[in-house]
Every structure is written in C-alpha cells, then in structure tokens.
Amino acid sequence: MADNRDDDSQYRIKEGDYVVLKRGDIFKAVQIQPKKKVIFEKQWFFLDNAVDHLYSTTFEIVSGVLQPKKLKDEAGTDNRNIVDDGKSQKLTRDDIETLKEQGLKGQEIIQQLIDNSATFKDKTEYAQDKYIKKKKKKYENTVTILKPSCRILAMMYHGREPGKICHLRYDTLAQMLTLANIHAGSKVLVFETCAGLVLGAVMERMGGYGSVIQMYPGGGPVRAGVESFGFPAHFHDMLHEFPICHVNALLAGTLDTTAKEPSADSKQSTVAEEKETQNQPEAEQQGSPEEQNMETNSGADDQEKEQKEKRKEAKVKLEEKRKKLAAAAALLEGRNADGLVIASRFHPSPVLLGLLKFLAPSRPFVVYSQYKEPLIECYTKLKEQGGTISLRLTDTWLRHYQVLPNRTHPLLLMSGGGGYVLSGTTVAMDRSKPAGSQRAEEPAPKRLKLTDTEG
C-alpha cells in the first residue's frame, strides 16, 4: 500500500507545483500557492482546493474556489426550416444577467438557453453540438489542471505569446528536438531567446542526465519558461550558462577564469568605503547636534556592520559567478559538444558560425529562424567554409482534422507559419584541401541559353 502511495504522489497536485490551467484550447502556466488568487479567462479563483487531487482533474469554479466537476446527458435532419430572424432565443440579455446573478452555473445557463430556444429542437444533432459548444465557450466555468510538459507549454506559448518565442510553432520545436538527437547523457549547447521554452524542452528530453550549456547574450540568461516545466531540483545541476561576450576569448585561449583574490578584495573595500563616506553626511543632517552625534556614532557602527556584511555577500556572489563561469568554460574548451540548438531573434548566421566551433565532429545541429532568408545565408556560408554535411532547410505544415461520422474534413483555419529550420551534421574539417574542392551538393546554377538579337 505504501508503495502504491509513492507511485501515486507523482500524479497528485502539490502545493508549490508548477501547473498548466486549461479550458478548451486556452492554456495558462501558474504555480500552486496557498491563498493566492489567479486569473484565468476573466475569472478569479483560488487554487488551494486543487491540492491532493490527481493531475488532469477538471474543476468547476464556484464563487472563486475550485470544486471537482461531477460527471454527467431530439434532433432534426437539416436546416431547411430554420430561419435566422434573431427571434429564436426567448431569453433576453437581461434575463441571462439575472440568471447569472442568481448564481446559476454555466451548465445550467446553457440548459436554460436550450430550453428557451425555439429552433434548438429543429437543429440537426451536429448543429446542436456546435450550438452547445459555442455557448459552453461563453458560459463555462470549468478548468482542468495539467502537469506541465514540453507539448503543453509549447502549445501554450504559441497560442498566447508567440512573439516571445519568435513564433516557433510546437511542431517545429518537435522537429528540432529530434533532428538534434537530444537525449540523456549528452552535452548540448543552446542559444535561444524564446523565454526559456526551448531550453526547457531540451532539459526535459535529457531527463537530468548529461549537461546543457546555455549561451546567452547580454547581462544574464533568461529562463522564465524553464520554471513552468516544474523540473525536480537536481535538473538544475546539469544546467550551465556562458556569456557569448567571452566566446572569442575562450576560443583564442585567452579567457582567464581563475580567482583574483587580492585585487578583488581591494576593489570591494574601496567601493564599500566610498559608500560609507557617502552615508555619513546624510546622517549628520538629521536631528539636533547632541542627538545627532549619538546617532551618527551608533549609526556609523551599524552602518559599518552592514557594509561588512554587504562586502562579504558581494564577494561570495562574485566567487560563485566566477566558479560557474570556470565550470562552463571547462565544458566548452574541449570543443566536444554533442549538439547545438539555436532559436533566437538574432541573425542566425554569425551565431551558428561562432558556436559550431564547440561541436565535436559527426554531431547534429539545428538552427531555427522565423524567416527563410537568414537561413539561406547560413547555408551558403557553411558551404563555403566546409566542415558540415547533410544541410537541409525545411519547414513543416501542420493540419488538424475534425473527425466525426460523415463529416471528417480538415479544419478550416490553419496555422500560417511555424518558422524554418536548418539542420546538418558536423564532420572533421579538411585542412589539407581548400574548401572549394568540397564535393558539390547542389547542381550548378542553370544557365539559360541566350538567343542573339539582331541589332
């Protein structure tokens, strides 16, 4: 029995868990925090009641709290007699508002609408379903709580905030993860500006084994999306980061990540001293002279303690940062990474050319771009410099189907674009022969016959 309970716990919602709320096709990532109100689809509610229930449970929102949803319920043949005159529904808007105020739940409101509709009975079964579905969307108050996964989060981001993830569609992400052969135990480099979604997806596929090095532009790595995956703590042990501003130094062998104790110390103390002298004049301006003197004396003591603490903290932080940088550099300088994934708003060509150098031979890489042309440039540059094979520029087309008896057809709306992917494999660089002698992989450009025009 105890054994079963252990197995069970991974499927139960716990306080502090990162979850995804779902209604229909709408998703939202939140954290279960006690007595914290969340907003989802214009409704406010507490998530407290969800704790200890199984994931994928559907709840009803009743007066701002969750209640598990209880389980559950004559048609025409076609629409020849149905006239759209706007008079089919007996309930007015005011009537419906009154019902809402009376506390009628979504399902009950929908039932009232059906009962008061003159044409509902005449609709075909299909049309009835469609009607109910439409009303459900408007009046429903259910929410399903899901365990986060790459699939769910990728769909969420693409639906809610595609701009944050460079419009990377989830099927494109699926292609990238497979083409880059992301698997447990490898060493993968990731450069992304997709709010951490791509990084999280890579980490999920590695299961905590191996290492991931996030190459980041600017001041610090962005990883908000990674949190939403709800990884166990030890997953973060395999995650490293390295600022791209040091890439050239690392490649040239000039990056110094050793501790610089004496100079660091003195720098810190001068900074602290400056702060102290700044603070004292401020203190002197307050209160009467005697009080002031006493204040400044004890104040100075307290301040000095504070300054010392701050200096200590800053030193510790700096040391931590240095250690992390050294660790990441150590992983990179062997130039034996197993995979490279790039998905950002930066021009992919220089990013790719710069980071490819860290890959071992016979290893895959994938580059995502919202646009095709930058990848054409990557392709061309790679061909020129050699060292890669099997270059392929692709995009995928995703089509959903409605599958119902006698009514199966593709859905009318399709996702316009999910971005492009350039994939390839590294090989040992051929240093003996010039790059131009690489075996041609594309036919020579077509030469059109020019007919002579008589002048």
Partner: protein, 344 residues
C-alpha cells in the same frame, strides 16, 4: 558506439554510417579484416575505420573519399533495410513530442515493422525507460531483436512475436504511452488501454497517459506545388490524380473508426493531425534582363552606341540566391491520432 550514447572513436563491432554525398548514405557493420565496396573504391575496415574518429574523412581505394558518421536514429531511418513501409523523421518527431516521451518513459508499440520508430523511441527513453514492442510477423520480430542487440540497445527493449489485437502487448498497467501502426488499430484500442498505467480503486492511479495511432499512408502525391490558404485547398486536391481519392477516403474512414473506438473506450482529447515536411533547396538562379533596345534619351554618339549595344544587353543578367521546392514531394504520409487515457 550505441544508438543511445555517443562515442568518439570507431571500434570493431560498431555500426557506422558511411556518407557518400548528398542524400547518399549506407550503414556498415565494422569488422576486423572486412571490406566495404563503394562507388569511390574499397574501404578496409581495419585500416580505414577502426581507431578513426567518427566524422573523419576516409579515402577509398579508387582515390575518392567518404565521411564516416556516428549512427543516430535519424540516420538509421534513412539507411535501414526496409522490411515494411516505415515512419520518417518528420512524423517520428511529432509523435515523440505529442506522446511526451522522455528518459524513463515506458512505451508500448505495435507493429515493430522495420524498427524505424523503435530506434527513435529507445533513444528518447534511455537510460531508464523501456519499450515493449509487438510484431506479429516472426521473421521481422527476429530481425528487429537482432538489430537492437547489434545497436546495443537490447537492454531497453522487449520484442514479442504475437498479434496485438488478440493478445495485447504482453504487459498491463505499465505504459506511459502506446503507439499503434497496424491495419486495424481500432481492434487493439482496448489492449492499449489495458497496457497503460492502471487506474482503479487502489491508490495506484495514473493521471492521463497519451496514446497515438497512425493510419498508414506512404504514397507520393503528384501535386506540383503547395497551396496553403484554405480557399485554394480544394484546388490542391483537384490537382491530385483521381486514383488517390478513394485511398484518401478509405484512410479517413479508418481514422473515423479509430476515433470512435477511442471514444468508446473512454479516451479523451482525441485529435487527428497531419504533418508534412517542405524541403527548400538553396539555389543560385540566374535571371536574364530584358533588352528594350537603346535608350533614346542616352547621350552617346550613334557609332559608339551600336558597338555597346552589341556587347552588353544580351548578356545582362542578375543572379539571386533563393530556394526551390524539389520536383516531387510526399503529399501524404499518414494521419496521426492522439488521445489521452482518462483518470477515472
């Protein structure tokens, strides 16, 4: 070398992939003393392969050269010996994500076929997951088991030679995900449900496992181009030869039967998708510029003009770097239907 773990140097007994050129590769079983024929000459395993780094260039006897690559499920998919119609990387990638496969996942699959999907699953679920694969054709089952051993992934997979529609997967209540690619998947849906992690009165309950069913496809469409906007969708279908239509309907009917079976068994979130890959071939294209005759407003002398006319305009052209689609593209590979097993 293994299909689930990289290594740096080629060793005796490895399976390596020889890359000959664009879209031309073959698998090679590395053996001391053995030789492999290629159009560029002979590769002698002992001298040219064993001990070399994966990714190296190998010069063959005739003087031509090839590259030797570390195997991956993706490379295997395009080089493996076909015993059946296989799944290609595009569909495999979609399935992997939609079934939420990751290290530790327990997966049930039928039929094993030529093992294309199997290898990809094994790569993703390693080192702690397991694949239960069922193949009703005895020789294919044996060949698959053999390959798993050669590829050093046999500890992660169990091959069963039986009929999944009658006898199921051979395990119950263990799977996080189930995949069916058989002629009548609706007959196996109840077995799929049984194989999935159990939910019942005792505390051992799972919360939603994903299942996936693929209705076989695999013929090339003769559409000459892609049309994406919904309005022209009917045009795209119009271009396809008539013979494809009945097959398409049959497949859709099969999908319907499958979806009904899933719904009957209480599966939820049933959805059917189709994923198609577009390849863009990068090309330099030279476009000639038109010659509209001499520009009347030009100020050059008549004599010089005629000479210039003869020399320049006829050869004026612009070269652009662009992409073109290949001449023929797969119009349809298969429908993927996904569903979630309910919690109750």
């Amino acid at each position: 070398m293994s299909f689930v773990e990289y290594s740096d140097f080629i060793q005796d007994g490895d399976v390596a992939i020889v890359y000959l050129g664009h879209e031309s590769m073959m698998p090679v079983k590395v053996q001391k003393g053995a030789q492999t024929q290629t159009r560029y000459g002979v590769i002698r395993h002992s001298t040219d392969l064993i001990g070399q780094r994966y990714g190296s260039k190998v010069t063959c006897s005739k003087g031509g050269w090839v590259h030797v690559l570390h195997p991956t499920p993706e490379l295997w998919t395009v080089t493996l010996p076909h015993r059946t119609q296989i799944l290609y990387t595009t569909d495999i990638a979609t399935i992997t994500m939609m079934l939420e496969l990751k290290p530790g996942s327990v997966v049930c699959e039928s039929g094993t076929g030529s093992g294309s999907l199997s290898h990809a699953i094994l790569r993703t679920i390693a080192p702690t997951g397991h694949l239960h694969t069922v193949e009703f054709h005895q020789q294919r089952a044996e060949k698959a088991a053999e390959e798993f051993k050669e590829h050093r992934v046999d500890h992660l997979v169990t091959v069963r030679n039986q009929d999944v529609c009658k006898d199921g997967f051979g395990v119950t209540g263990v799977a996080d995900a189930v995949f069916l690619d058989i002629p009548s998947p609706w007959e196996a849906v109840r077995h799929a449900k049984a194989a999935m992690k159990r939910q019942g009165l005792c505390c051992r309950q799972g919360a939603g496992q994903r299942g996936s069913i693929r209705k076989k496809g695999g013929f090339t469409s003769h559409c000459s181009g892609w049309m994406f906007s919904p309005e022209s969708r009917s045009q795209a279908e119009h271009h396809c030869p008539k013979t494809l239509q009945p097959e398409a309907t049959n497949r859709r009917q099969d999908v319907q039967r499958t979806c009904e079976a899933l719904a009957d068994q209480g599966f939820e979130e049933i959805s059917t998708v189709e994923v198609l890959l577009r390849v863009h071939d990068v090309r330099n294209v030279s476009l000639p510029l038109p010659d509209f005759g001499p520009d009347p407003s030009s100020q050059t002398e008549p004599g010089a003009a005629t000479a210039a006319e003869k020399a320049a305009p006829n050869h004026a052209s612009v070269t652009i770097k662009t992409t073109t689609p290949p001449r023929e593209i797969p119009g349809h590979t298969g429908y993927l239907t996904f569903a979630t097993k309910p919690r109750t």
